[in-house]
């Protein structure tokens, strides 16, 4: 009866953005797909997100942002993760991220970006395919 170890995911909302529907939809979808999702609520600083990722030793960090501050906040999250030595997590994101900004977001390490109307099955498949293995 050895069960597969669930993938652990942190879903976080950086900055002052209060739009949390999308983050919750994604968190629930991943939960229903058998993953363990740590949801930290809104108004997270990049430090808080990186520290939570470290303490929880998640395999995946997903940022949800609809405020338009992604180009300012995402690099800071990456920086905070790096300064803590958290270098083996899958990063991805969703929310309102204009097409033109996606290359820049990809470049700093976000493997996937999912906008409005995304089928959550695509998000689940993405995580299953790319999440690094832990214990």
């Amino acid at each position: 009866m050895t069960q597969e170890r669930p993938i652990r995911v942190l879903i976080a909302k950086p900055g002052l953005d209060g739009h949390d529907r999308g983050a919750k939809v994604v968190a629930r979808a991943l939960r229903d797909a058998g993953m363990e999702v740590i949801y930290t609520g809104i108004r997270q600083t990049p430090q808080m997100i990186a520290e939570a990722a470290l303490q929880e030793d998640v395999q995946v960090v997903g940022l949800s942002i609809l405020s338009g501050a992604h180009l300012e906040l995402f690099p800071r999250v990456v920086e905070e993760l790096r300064s803590r030595g958290v270098d083996d997590v899958l990063l991805f994101a969703g929310g309102i991220i204009p097409q033109d900004d996606i290359p820049a977001v990809n470049k700093i390490g976000f493997k996937g970006v999912f906008g409005p109307g995304t089928d959550t099955n695509d998000i689940i498949a993405f995580v299953r395919e790319h999440a690094p293995v832990r214990a």
């Binding site: 740590i38 609520g41 470290l54 832990r134």
Partner: protein, 327 residues
């Protein structure tokens, strides 16, 4: 040590890192212990002799009672008193998908930035009794890492979450005002597992009624030499929390200094060992039963009403034992 990175963990590096206060090593060691991997087992074997220093505190009570908020408030108070705090917060896994949403961090956001606090969320992963199977091991890792206080927040799903006593020296039961029916229905087990009780949300109406009801229940519970104090707290504002820490500390002093201290430790060791052995036996027995094919056959005969479940279960156990003898 070098911080762990993708797939090259070794137990020695992790143990060394945990003992040296490396938070990343600590986090990864917990992952291995939670997964019950070979590395996790080795980590536990090596650190266990270094445990027993931390004061362990369990926080139990129904979902929504304010456990997470209270753990946050308690941790803040402990920090004020100069103590470091490790926290294990357990939430239920879905019995259907096996997934979970672990939301206890939401109530402790401000603690994330504090280097003297380490918070780990865990899913119950099918374990009943309020903890996850690996929770006691995770407490041991935090203990070895040197945290002065280690708090364990239980799932809060049922009335029989007595396993918290396996992990905690002092257990705090969190009740609420207006939960009259709830207080009434608190089974003796949960009452007897707690050494400190608090009526949280005592800013709401009915706090004193709840307090009286708890007192009445305590009067008929089976108690030892320690009489559980009953306090009132408002976790949201921190009111009553210093008094709660004082009460927890008094109980800690009681169990560590009492003439029964050795006995207490043996009793806890027994509970931990039996709980883990039972879970392991259960798993292995099911594997053996499946291997022999006996389970399938017996299920068929019970479903056809040829055999009653009680005798079928006995036959299943015989088949399992025979399978083990062959292995």
């Amino acid at each position: 040590m070098t911080p762990p990175s993708g797939g090259v963990d070794t137990a020695s590096d992790l143990v060394e890192g945990v003992l040296a206060g490396n938070r990343r090593a600590l986090a990864r060691a917990i992952t291995h212990v939670e997964a019950d991997s070979a590395i996790g087992r080795e980590v536990l074997a090596r650190i266990y002799p270094r445990t027993g220093r931390a004061q362990t505190v369990g926080i139990t009570g129904s979902a929504g009672a304010g456990k997470s908020t209270l753990v946050g408030a308690l941790a803040r108070e402990e920090r004020k008193r100069g103590r470091t705090v490790g926290i294990v917060a357990i939430d239920p896994s879905s019995p259907f998908s096996h997934g979970a949403i672990l939301g206890d961090r939401i109530r402790m956001q401000d603690l994330t930035a504090d280097g003297g606090v380490f918070l780990r969320s865990m899913a119950s992963r099918g374990n009943l009794g309020g903890l996850s199977e690996s929770a006691t091991g995770v407490v041991d890792v935090l203990d070895a890492a040197g945290f002065d206080v280690v708090m364990i927040e239980t799932v809060g799903a049922g009335q029989d979450e007595v396993e918290v006593a396996n992990a905690a020296g002092t257990t705090v039961l969190v009740a609420n005002p207006g939960g009259g029916d709830e207080v009434q229905s608190m089974k003796a087990g949960l009452m007897e597992v707690a050494q400190v009780m608090t009526v949280n949300k005592s800013d709401l109406a009915g706090a004193d009624t709840a307090l009286t009801q708890l007192k009445a229940l305590l009067a008929i519970a089976h108690l030892g030499s320690w009489e559980p104090p009953i306090l009132k707290t408002i976790a949201r504002t921190g009111e009553g929390v210093p008094e709660l820490v004082d009460a927890i500390d008094r109980h800690h002093a009681h169990i560590t200094s009492s003439v029964h201290a050795v006995e207490e430790r043996r009793a806890q060791a027994t509970r931990q060992l039996i709980a883990l052995a039972r879970a392991a036996l259960h798993r292995e027995a099911l594997v053996a039963a499946a291997t022999t094919g006996a389970l399938e056959a017996l299920v068929d005969s019970v479903a056809r009403r040829e055999r009653d479940p009680r005798n079928a279960a006995a036959a299943l156990l015989d088949a399992v034992k025979a399978q083990w003898a062959r292995e």
